[in-house]
Symmetry: C2
Subunit: 99 residues, 2 copies
């Protein structure tokens, strides 16, 4: 199955729940680029699976998760400002592999 | 110029700076869907302009802003969980107009 570039961005208030979502993203092989953002390539059924798993972890009344599966053109058009790539989590070499 | 669907998602710690970014998004005609997310249609030069303006407002050492200009196919593939659409900011009618 073809893989798709996907951004996962979340806003989760509870540390434990945020860590669980981060672990789910890591388990799928995504790369953490920030405290609240992951990036990687996944087949679409794995993206669906990840969304379901995240949905089970978060508090839907306070937290949010966005998953953006992007075609190559849209991926290049994403604009990131400020600490979108946090050097505490990711280095330039890893970032450049995506672009 | 053709307009593009765009998601703007930010993580800005300072209330004043966050409000300023929200105002910039509103001034461009985007719809607030959450405390930290806007959605709308903009020509690509206005998206570039918005990115520049946001870059001037945020603290690049602590804050982040993501702008996702999406083609119609990718727009439909976005997955939102939990409070991605916050009823304090947006109602179902407005949301359904996008989909």
């Amino acid at each position: 199955m073809t893989s798709t570039l996907v951004w996962v961005i979340y806003d989760i208030s509870d540390d434990k729940q945020r860590n669980r979502v981060a672990k789910l993203c890591k388990a799928k092989g995504l790369q953490r680029v920030q405290k609240s953002a992951f990036l990687g390539k996944l087949p679409s059924n794995r993206i669906d699976e990840l969304a379901l798993q995240c949905g089970e972890v978060i508090d839907a009344s306070t937290d949010s998760v966005f998953l953006f599966p992007l075609c190559a053109d849209d991926f290049r058009r994403v604009k990131t400002l400020g600490l979108a790539f946090d050097p505490r989590y990711v280095n330039d070499e890893v970032i450049s592999a995506f672009f």
